[in-house]
Point group: C2
Chain length 342, copies 2
DNA sequence: CTGAAAGCGCTTACAG
DNA sequence: CTGAAAGCGCTTACAG
């Protein structure tokens, strides 16, 4: 048996005895299709192994068959995990996932979101992974016909999945406090130009809340931006080491920054937890080896969850987007880089 | 100024005073277009900011405007780097990069390459990153209308870019030999079901060649598959540690496997280079911190180079694919996990 | 070297 | 609830 040509909507119409138009509506779950027609179409499509041509649909003004996965960068551990998990869900649901890396450049971001018409022409939905949008971009995206779902972005009018970053940071900081430390430093994420990326902002807020509850404050010099790379963490910690007095504990807002901090300490002949206690947030695969105490978050789960949400939205476009929140759990993992203050 | 609608080929035809058909040909650099028409069209298109609708082109049988980046998995450090570098090149050249992860599952690979018609409908070209294809898949892909470029796949009839894996492994192994070690173990990459992935195969070959030149052999128990993950390396090294006699040095075919090996050693109360010298291959960002001696390879460069090659092929489809080879350089980096045998 | 015509496979109003 | 018609913006033979 050879199936020489792909079945078209025409074939489905012929086999089901209905018009192309009705078939089209039935296939897209639009209203005004009788129960019976719906079934007839479903059967015929199934039998023919019919799959709509996304090119034709797109040209005619319908679905593009694609979704975009946009990340600030695709190289970090977190994004690689989340992207792959999302890719898997999309592929299994028949959506082609377009990868868009912002390369940490605001210009790329502005260009992409500056022309939503162009983006809409290519994809039906956009999965945003910790993208730092400004208020205008959020409004435009929300007003566009694009389905939007995000990971790690609170204060956003569409569905979001993430962890409770504020709480996670509070937990990590609380761990340090519980060990008797009160002279803390924090390695924060990237500086935020937009208004939506809250993992950085919320984590910093959680850090401050933990301090507040103990009537503690942090010296401004000890709040330093590290981004989410090893190199950034190393630079940040080196900066702290240049101060005349070392804090007794450091909360790094992500594990990779914590690794960098550990490097910097070692380069200065110091180590954790002997000279400074260090706690991270992520539970990166290397953290176990490094003995890094950290707050673990489920990364692949967040990507997969968000992608599933997107697929649901896309499948039934009539259901209005609610802007639901989904928080996945985190867990403190005590290892060897933190210990009681002496 | 508001540009309400995107310019169509019609607009370009009107402005240039030529027919749609000629415009179409000119835009695609097809033959049979006079120098003058070519210029007219270029100017008009430029002025209108014209960009062809990929949906319309695809439907009419032309370019899809997309390329696929396919990787065995998207989560490992190597692939995340290469994918991002390729994504950047494609995006800058106006090609939409579709991400396809094989998730290390042969079934996903077979399904993808089993129906090249479906794939051709979605993309013009396929960038293969260390994908382990079997002979049939290679032949089918080569015969298809798809442009194909690969990274890290030798013995393949299309353009390939990579490092000289055999030589790199020879260098790493030679480093061990130079230090006086002769009782070696090797942690190889994944077992190969196909015929094209040669990074694993070639690296093992380089290891053997180095041994041969010293009239040395390796005990079969000391050749163990580790894949390219930390966990795989850890398992493999644990297996070696279960043998009654430990080799004095280990070559791990990738850094992540080397990290795992280091973990396993530590779990057994041993360490490198005290008990065993360990050399890797990659120069992962963590390797510096781990003090891992390794052979560095340029990862992002390989992805970018291959993507550029693809863009060239795609831009001028008339030039036949030559199956060119491009080898990027590697460099031995001696750090602290290797030392002279005593 | 150039253009008029048909058609790719869908969807969208618009009548029934 | 259903269908005939037009059209989305290109490309591909086919004449000139």
């Amino acid at each position: 048996m050879v199936i020489s040509q792909r079945a078209t909507i025409q074939d489905v119409a012929l086999l089901s005895g209905l018009s192309i138009c009705t078939v089209s509506r039935a296939l897209r779950n639009l209203p005004n299709v009788s129960e019976k027609s719906q079934q007839l179409v479903a059967q015929a499509a199934e039998k023919l192994g019919y799959k709509a041509s996304s090119a034709a649909a797109r040209l005619a003004g319908g679905s593009t068959g694609s979704v975009a996965i946009v990340a600030p960068t695709a190289t970090s551990w977190f994004f690689a995990q989340a992207v792959e998990a999302a890719e898997e869900v999309f592929a299994d649901s028949g959506w082609d996932p377009l990868l868009i890396s912002l390369r940490n450049k605001p210009s790329v971001r502005k260009q992409l979101f500056g022309d939503l018409t162009a983006l809409s022409q290519r994809v039906d939905g956009v999965l945003l992974l910790n993208v730092d949008l400004d208020a205008d971009e959020i409004a435009a995206l929300h007003a566009s016909p694009l389905a939007v779902v995000s990971v790690g972005m609170s204060h956003v009018p569409w569905d979001n999945v993430g962890i409770d970053d504020e709480q996670a940071a509070w937990t990590a900081t609380g761990h340090l406090l519980d060990l008797g430390h009160w002279d803390l430093a924090v390695l924060t994420g990237h500086e935020m130009s937009g208004t939506s990326v809250c993992s950085s902002r919320d984590r910093l807020a959680g850090f401050h809340r933990a301090l507040d509850s103990h009537d503690l404050t942090v010296h401004p010099d000890l709040v330093v931006a590290a981004g989410s790379t090893i190199e950034g963490g190393r630079r940040a910690m080196t900066e702290i080491l240049a101060n005349r007095s070392l804090p007794t504990a450091v909360f790094a807002a992500c594990d990779e920054a914590a690794f960098g901090a550990l490097m910097a300490l070692r380069e200065h002949g110091k180590s954790a937890p002997r000279d400074v206690s260090v706690v991270g947030l992520d539970d990166h695969p290397m953290s176990w080896f490094m003995g890094l105490s950290t707050v673990a978050q489920p990364v692949a789960d967040q990507g997969a969850f968000a992608a599933n949400l997107m697929c649901e939205r896309l499948q039934d476009p009539l259901v209005p987007t609610e802007g639901s929140r989904h928080m996945l759990g985190v867990k403190l993992i005590e290892r060897k880089t933190t210990r009681r203050k002496r």
